[in-house]
Amino acid sequence: MRVARPRTISEALSALDDNPGSQLLAGGTDFCVEVNYGHRRPEGVVCLRRVAELRDFEVGEGKVRIGAGTTYTEMVKRLSGVLPALAAAARTVGSPQIRNAGTLGGNVATASPAGDTLPLLAALDAEVVLVSSKARRVVPLNELITGVKTTTIGPGEMVAEVVVPRISGPQHFLKVGTRNAMVISIASAAVVVDLQAQVVRCGLGSVGPVPIRASRAEEMISEAIDWDDLSAPRAALERFGDLAAEAARPITDHRSTADYRKRAVAVIAARAMRRSLTRVT
């Protein structure tokens, strides 16, 4: 097995070009498990841990750019002010050791339905910057992730950064698992309130092959909110949960049932919304 340990993005991309069968290795929290279980045997790996430029992030006026190599621990520590729901999602990932290793870029590129940062990124209409030795392109998250663990990332390409709009207003992330920590999500929801645009965004995780936007729920609640004091009627909250559940397309597997996932997503979407309001009327 060929192992490349580049220090820059361009070195990483050349290593990818030189060894087309290679797998990019960031935190390895998914990939190494698959190798251990014998599910994958790559011809080589390109290790990204030393690529310092992948760990940069920048909080701009209108946008936040987050390097793909940003670990969950760094998200918890450094982004809880500007993206509290991302920090909350990162906090739910694995154990401290896993959070020290796993990265945002890995979560996006792995594209697991249970990826914990994905509901929020979906809610924010995140854009993913892909680079190769030939080009740089920007792909919206909902075009990047096409199915269970499948993406439009091409050969020789890697995730360089994730760009989300900077939105002022409350945001919350809730995740349901059958253990109080270190558990794979069986349903999750992110709610972002945009006070300026007076709209609510809502992303759902683990209830479909890809992260889901609960668009009808968003439209309904954005109408129902009294934006002067950020309040909404209790019935609208319940309706919000129900519409979120309607948007979900969950399956039954060994972790949970489709019925429960629908119920859970209704409950947590409504609670995320409730927490975002100052008052329920």
């Binding site: 059958t178 253990r179 060994h254």
Partner: protein, 761 residues
């Protein structure tokens, strides 16, 4: 958390909280576990397992594996020179499946290669022609279904009848209960190193619970004199019953002998879930009768345990299940019927609590139901019916030992309750934990109590003895040293600490060395299971110490020219009261070393006779638990807040170790209540990983407060009972009761899944 009373005794003697010698190394990652072993020139073994729960094997072609460079041996059923099967109670399980596979993950072949990855690829290259069969996966249906094994589908059927089983009470409650398949989930996966020896035999270093039982089964399959098979204990990373049965032992030895090279085998985490037996899933029907005044009248029960594809210890587990089915309560009348059945599910066998755990969920749910029906407080109702010394169990056995059932209940409920739920609670401390799913208004609190009991050591006439030898000698520096030779498997329970404490206490020797545990130099110590080693191995060591004391006194008597009855031994020296003469052990040992050996047997027990009656149990251990849980009913998520317990320990010989067993046992108990389950789909294991087989994390384990009830057990060495299993028996049922209290729902199945609560509202 350790209650202050537990920590009061200091020093290095019995009753003191001596720290274990391997504690520091284990905490620092310096302890050598069995998976850390290495030998120059060793090969790596790998097992090929069936992907089907039931299939005929039409053919096995190992040639593609043998063709891979670096592969040194490939073996299957035809390469087993001796007995083709193994088993703890009866050898009904193939070393390798030959013509039929009966469970998902059953070994079919094994390879040894220069590199673990070569071994993995070689195992995958073996071509097995399977013809899949419809698996038999429902235990109740298996009882009368066509046999899937020459021995039939019913491992054991037992009926216990006492008094008038048709007696009817004023109040009758009925219920059916179900327990899922729990795994021992020990941290150190199965691993061992087999080394061919010059004499044509084999040395095996392995993590196990019972060295001699392994040795005898290996020797049978190798067609070898047991003396040619030397099994030594390698560092064990937990056991909980899951290492009683043979896993890789025979395979590794066969590969070593075939290749003429040392062979190391280490299961990965996924393979570990296929490599050992699990806790029996149970389906239980109960009908309880009581009088208006709250006196139990009759218990009727039917219990079906799913034993999986092979026997393992199912016969003993179903015996325990029926014997303890009614709980630690006085009963004039009972009829309990139990089956352990064979299915195409993974084999089930020993796990901490051994049959007593499953039925505790049933009898304690029923006790709460009866209390509710009677309008009585559930604790008072239990106290009114508890077993006491000289009472009869439903097996007719009169309890001659201690039975502080009332005391353990009172102790469990007397601990202060946790602070009430209020708005200052951190969100992460609520149900849902790090997922931050609940606000305080979404949560309800409940409290539940449960009581359980179980026997200590093997039952029904089984003679599970322990052999020990101690040599007293002088070190090169001239100081007395006691070397203890005993084959007791230290699996984490702390026997190594206790053995030294006993020798120090009885002989007054500071330096105590435990020789490595193995089969070569000493007889069996029995299994490190059934909470038996403190009694059995502790008893064996005690006895040998007393033999050595006698020898020392005799030597001293010769030296002081007086009868040995004039002498006493204390703090490592012999003295004569009347003359104040003293002889140190050093000078007594100057005449040469002393050695003594003893095979220690416990008092005989009887088989269960007609109607399941008989004095089958050596001694009983009791515990009660009170659980406080917070539940988020809309999401069905549970947070266990606190578990308090009273436990009957006889005598706490090392309180900090007792408390460690209690805290760990409670964690394992609540694991079964709220999350731990091997999920099966038509016999296939769906979650063989720690990603999906969930065990409690630090955020799931509650505050624990324990009171040790010390009433010395007559006949027990030092008055001490075993302590490992009771914490796992009633802690989970207490959690189930607390969930019922919090939600008002009739929780009848564990582990309680979120959907079981959230979708029933």
């Amino acid at each position: 958390m350790v209650s202050p009373s537990v920590m009061r005794r200091r020093g290095s003697h019995l009753g003191a909280s001596v720290l274990r010698p391997d504690g520091g190394p284990k905490a620092k990652g310096e302890f050598a576990f069995s998976s850390d072993m290495w030998m120059d020139g060793m090969l790596w073994g790998r097992t090929l397992r069936s992907p089907y729960p039931a299939a005929l094997i039409k053919g096995i072609d190992v040639s593609p594996a043998l063709a891979i460079p670096g592969v040194r041996a490939v073996i299957s059923a035809q390469d087993v020179p001796g007995r083709k099967t193994f088993g703890l109670e009866r050898a009904d399980q193939p070393v390798f499946a030959s013509d039929v596979v009966r469970y998902h993950g059953e070994p079919v072949a094994a390879v040894a290669a220069d590199h673990p990855d070569t071994a993995r690829r070689a195992a995958a290259a073996i071509r097995v022609d399977y013809e899949p069969l419809e698996p038999l996966v429902v235990a109740e249906a298996a009882i009368n279904a066509p046999a899937i094994h020459p021995d039939g589908n019913v491992f054991r059927h037992i009926v216990i009848r006492t008094g008038d089983p048709t007696a009817v009470g004023d109040v009758v409650v009925e219920g059916t209960y179900e327990v899922g398949m729990q795994d021992q989930a020990f941290m150190g996966p199965e691993s061992g190193l087999a080394v061919p020896s010059l004499d044509g035999g084999v040395d095996l270093y392995v993590a196990t619970q019972w060295l001699h039982a392994d040795r005898d089964q290996i020797a049978e399959s190798l067609a070898m004199d047991p003396r040619m098979v030397r099994v030594s204990l390698a560092g064990v990373g937990g056991a909980f019953g899951g290492r009683e049965d043979v896993s890789l032992q025979i395979h590794a030895c066969l590969l070593a002998l075939r290749s003429g090279r040392p062979v190391k085998m280490v299961y990965g985490r996924d393979e570990s879930f296929f490599g050992h037996v699990h806790r029996h899933p149970a389906k239980m029907w109960y009908r309880h009768h009581a009088n208006r005044d709250g006196e139990l009248v009759n218990v009727e029960a039917r219990i079906v345990l799913d034993g999986g594809a092979y026997l393992s210890s199912s016969n003993a587990v179903i015996s325990n299940a029926v014997c303890f089915a009614a709980g630690p309560y006085r009963l004039a009348n009972a009829k309990v019927e139990g089956w352990a059945a064979r299915t195409n599910n993974p084999p089930c066998g020993a796990m901490r609590g051994f049959g007593a755990v499953q039925v505790c969920y049933g009898h304690e749910a029923q006790m709460d139901k009866l209390a509710a029906e009677l309008g009585m407080d559930p604790v008072q109702f239990r106290l009114k019916n508890v077993l006491r010394r000289n009472d009869k169990m439903i097996t007719g056995q009169v309890i001659k030992g201690t039975a502080p059932v009332e005391e353990v209940i009172r102790a469990a409920v007397s601990h202060p309750l946790p602070v009430p739920l209020d708005s200052s609670a951190e969100m992460m401390s609520l149900p849902g934990g790090a997922g931050m799913t609940a606000d305080i208004s979404d949560v309800r609190r409940g409290v539940g109590v449960a009581v359980g009991f179980k026997n200590l050591a093997y039952s029904e006439g089984y003679d599970d003895f322990t052999t020990a030898r101690i040599r007293l000698d002088l070190s090169p520096q001239g100081e007395p040293v006691a070397t203890v030779v005993i084959a007791t498997a230290e699996v984490g329970q702390g026997f190594v600490t206790l053995a030294s404490q006993i020798v120090r206490d009885l002989l007054g020797v500071d330096q105590v060395v435990l020789a490595p545990a193995g089969t070569e130099d000493i007889g069996s110590a029995g299994s490190s299971s059934a909470s038996r080693q403190t009694w059995m191995s502790g008893g064996a060591i005690e006895h040998v110490c007393m033999m050595l004391r006698d020898s020392l006194l005799e030597r001293a008597a010769g030296e002081l020219d007086c009868p040995s009855s004039d002498l006493i031994m204390r703090d490592g020296e012999v003295s004569r009261e009347s003359t104040a003469q003293r002889v140190s052990m050093t000078s007594l040992l100057a005449a040469g070393p002393l050695q003594a050996e003893h095979e220690f047997h416990h008092a005989k027990t009887q088989p269960l006779g007609v109607d399941g009656q008989g004095d089958a149990m050596l001694s009983l251990m009791f515990a009660a638990h009170r659980a406080v849980v917070d539940v988020d009913p809309d999401l069905g998520l549970v947070r266990v807040v606190q578990v308090t317990t009273g436990q009957d320990v006889g005598k706490a010989l090392n309180p900090v170790q007792v408390t460690g067993q209690i805290e760990g046992g409670i964690a394992q108990g609540i694991g079964l209540a709220v999350m731990e389950e091997i999920v099966l789909d038509e016999g296939r294991v769906r979650n063989p990983s720690f990603t999906d087989y969930l065990i409690p994390t630090a955020l799931d384990v509650p505050e624990v407060a324990a009171t040790l009830i010390e009433e010395p057990e007559p006949g027990a060495p030092f008055g001490a009972k075993g302590v490992g299993e009771p914490p796992t028996i009633s802690s989970g049922p207490a959690v189930a009761a607390a969930i019922r209290a919090a939600t008002g729902l009739d929780v009848t199945r564990v582990p309680v899944r979120p959907q079981d609560l959230a979708l029933r509202r």
